[in-house]
Subunit: 139 residues, 4 copies
């Protein structure tokens, strides 16, 4: 995928469908989080490791645009990139595809916070560097 | 709430929290749907009645901005209004408050579709009129 | 309901349905928890208060029997009683009805634990007494 | 695992945790379903194929016993076997492990039904045979 160096696959669970016979729209918000966790595992030692450093990421904004419905048992590919890292803030952009066809796109915004106080704290340089390296490798 | 004539309350369930100790961000997307269903029940005979007319609404876009964290067992008030109804398309705007304090705001966009084919279909005039009346009463 | 002194109502959300057109079976497990929280609010100052005492309840067993399907937007009544409180252990029994008709019954078992260590700890006597009083009043 | 010929892995999502810092107990009920779908894919052409035959399986009973807590990002192995297939009825037994340690065990019971009417219907012989073959291979 143009501009994306990372993707992870999600298989749609029956519990994630609704009475319209499609994947419920809130399920996609969960899959974006699954993709972020996989992205951090690949590029920065994992979200669990980040939390063990006493910090965690709050979600401050979610935008999802639904282009096509998705169905039980389909495999979706979640293309993910981290962008706009500055201070305590960073964003992700996503493009979810099914067999090369756009299903959903969107972004999320986040703030790094102290785990105890939930006060904003700069993304540590080791993590910022790891993400910069991961995103630079996309070309 | 200025510009909103309708609200419904949601009590945060334990299952809706996460290991950050707060309501998980995807839970809010579900609560917006709960608010739409309550809005249509008040103003248009209910979403179930709409589906019995052979139509239903797909969600085509969701934007949520998280201003403050919310916690288990808190009661949130979801202010809701329907906007931009034109042809098969319409939107909702939301403002979620806790004791008068802004927690989340955002919008959703929707397309009315035929229940069998999921093809777009105009919002029927009885429903458009009911929503126009509801929104006009807010002033 | 014979033998039950407490009930709370749950309205089935669209997000809780699945592609079979019915409420997903895991949704009921969440509603049992909603009922426990409501039960403790009525009878023991609330689950949040209990957690503020430094303890919380883990679920150690869940049994649910599904007698009838339930559907979007239906209101279910969750009859709930607390039983078999001994030491750190206690149980709940449930009967979920729709307009007097049995939909689901079941039970859950729990262990009271220290919030920090998650080690079992006796149910404090103020809480055991509150529950005993609540259950005795049912007759 | 003794007596089980099939297992599938589940990675615990952040959205599946709760404010106790552990995987929410209802999440396990969803994972049992994920395991059934994977079991049928391996052994019987998939649940989607079964639904395309005009039948589907309702869940009539769930029992889950929680032996240990599970945490964000852990990988759980869900051992699964199909048992007691007779007429329209069948069951599954489960044992969920983390690195060889028992986390949860339990069972679910099901009824095969017609997709349109939700009336019980015999498990078709091609499906019963596929399951009998799968379970016989476990030895």
């Amino acid at each position: 995928m143009d501009g994306f160096s990372f993707s992870t696959d999600v298989r749609i669970r029956f519990a994630e469908t609704d009475a319209q016979g499609i994947a419920h729209h809130a399920s996609f918000v969960v899959w974006l989080e699954v993709a972020r966790v996989a992205y951090l595992e690949r590029n920065a030692g994992g979200y669990r490791a980040i939390r063990e450093h006493g910090i965690e990421a709050l979600t401050t904004e979610v935008l999802v645009r639904y282009h096509r419905a998705a169905y039980f048992d389909e495999t979706l590919t979640v293309w993910t990139r981290c962008t706009d890292l500055r201070g305590a803030r960073f964003s992700y952009e996503y493009r979810i595809e099914r067999a090369g066809e756009l299903v959903v796109d969107g972004y999320t915004r986040h703030a790094m916070v102290d785990r105890e106080t939930h006060r904003p704290t700069r993304v540590p340089s080791w993590l910022a560097d790891a993400i910069a390296t991961a995103e630079a490798s996309d070309s």
